[in-house]
């Protein structure tokens, strides 16, 4: 496919790998966090880690909306479906996220709940429009990329007066999560997570632009390079980060110029601003309560806000004690540091959220990297 295949060329990757190896000073270490799950997946799938010199290390970030969704939010959706007979529509990624009482949306469906997997927010609205007797709730998750489509269907529902359609909003914000990581004791105080820069989000940035990251570069002196989700994009971004570190710069650079501008998509931003406002606080799996890190629906659209409509009350639920998703999402631990990894916790039967989505650090390592940890032993003959 055009604009995809060219950015996966193996020969060019070899060239970029050589350039990175040449530019990285052997006497120092480089640690970069790729914020997005999309980058985590690309790095694992295309073996980018193996193409980097040993002193350039990638740390997986919390930019996977499925991974950071806390149990309590999924419990709300399951309650609505099982106890109130509501039809829950959601993106496929959410269905297997572990919730309370060993449930997930998929297991709730097996118990008779009406749970529908949809491709687009518009599908949920179309269902509500076609079947007015059915109460339809769209369980909306995602970062800034996925928020504008949700805003659009809420506005549309209001305009058309579709009274049986509402949204259970779990939309979260990228800059708030980056701030939280930079302010975490592991980064600021103990230095247990060395962090020399960020590979910035691809598609989130098409919406919000590159401008919101300038604060991190200036205030925290951390370089940010926005990169596309193809392997060559990631490698070029790593090279640009190595250069910034070598030259003592901390700037926002944009590798993904073919889709990202400094301002972003102003039309989408305006729409999101019209429909949503900042939530005072939101719980993230791994990061805990993060102030002003998520969106809720404005009062004008309360008729389409499932939390208001069904008087839902959020209850925080602790994760499985042995699960290390929290530490993995903060970059403090690696998937293979978790006792559950690849033993009881697998993509078929995930215990923690990082094993659910293919973008989760655990699922990516399980699928593409888990045999790299096992040393090769020559067979005796």
């Amino acid at each position: 496919m055009k604009y995809v295949d060219e950015f996966r060329d193996g020969e060019v990757a070899r060239g970029l790998a050589a350039a990175i190896a040449q530019e990285a000073h052997p006497q120092r270490n480089y640690s970069f966090m790729e914020f997005c799950g999309g980058h985590t997946h690309a790095i694992s799938r295309y073996g980018v880690t193996d193409l980097l010199p040993p002193n350039v290390r990638m740390i997986h970030g919390p930019g996977c909306p499925v991974c950071v969704l806390p149990i309590g939010r999924i419990d709300l959706a399951i309650q609505l479906a099982l106890d109130r007979g509501v039809t829950i529509c959601t993106y496929g990624d959410c269905l297997r996220v572990p919730a309370s009482e060993s449930l997930s949306l998929l297991k709730a469906k097996a118990r008779g709940a009406d749970i529908r997997m949809i491709y687009s927010a518009a599908d949920a609205l179309a269902l509500a429009r076609a079947e007015p007797q059915r109460e339809v709730v769209f369980f909306a998750i995602g970062f800034e990329t996925t928020t504008p489509p949700t805003a659009l269907v809420i506005r549309q529902a209001k305009a058309e007066g579709i009274g049986n359609f509402s949204v259970l909003c779990n939309h979260v914000l990228t800059p708030a999560a980056i701030s939280n990581i930079l302010e975490s004791p592991e980064v600021r105080q103990y230095g247990t997570v060395p962090l020399d820069g960020f590979v910035g989000p691809a598609h989130v940035s098409t919406v919000i632009g590159s401008q919101p990251y300038e604060f991190f570069a200036e205030e925290y002196r951390k370089p940010v390079v926005i990169a596309g989700f193809e392997p060559l994009d990631v490698m070029q971004a790593i090279r640009m980060l190595v250069r910034q570190v070598n030259e003592g710069r901390a700037e926002v650079e944009n590798e993904f110029t073919r889709a990202v501008t400094r301002e972003g998509n102003l039309k989408a931003q305006r729409l999101v601003g019209d429909v949503f406002e900042l939530r005072r606080s939101f719980e993230w799996r791994g990061l805990g309560e993060v102030p002003y890190s998520a969106l809720c629906i404005r009062r004008e659209f309360a008729a389409h806000d499932a939390e208001a409509k069904f008087a839902l009350e959020y209850r925080s639920v602790p994760d499985n004690k042995a699960c290390e998703c929290g530490a993995i999402l903060r970059g403090v631990k690696k998937p293979q540091d978790c006792k559950l990894f690849a033993t009881v916790c697998t993509p078929e039967n995930p215990m923690g959220s990082c094993m659910v989505s293919s973008e989760g650090a655990c699922a990516a390592h399980f699928t593409y990297g888990r045999f790299r940890d096992i040393p090769l032993v020559a067979a005796e003959g």
Binding site: M1, K2, Y3, V4, E6, F7, D9, E11, V12, R14, G15, L16, A18, A19, C36, G37, G38, G63, C64, P65, V66, Y91, D93, Y119, S120, A121, A122, D123, I141, G142, F143, T145, T146, P148, P149, L152, P201, A202, H203, V204, T206, V207, F229, L232, D233, Q236, E255, T257, R258, A259, V260, N265, K267, A268, L271, S357, E359
Partner: protein, 76 residues
Amino acid sequence: MCLAIPARITQKLDGDMAVVDLGGVRKEVSLALIDGADVGDYVIVHVGYALSKLDPEEAARTLALFAEISEALPPQ
């Protein structure tokens, strides 16, 4: 989750809708979140909505930069 793919607009339909071509697969998507997209343009599609137009000149520039890097590589 934020997965999105570049697709070419092949036909514009009523109500901000359009047909796009994704490597041979045709799909109806919404153009409601962007302005000024036309037939032949590449757009980045996410959950059925075009999020931004792809700038072919910038793409060519990035690819040219990659080509330069691999040409500078000593032959193996």
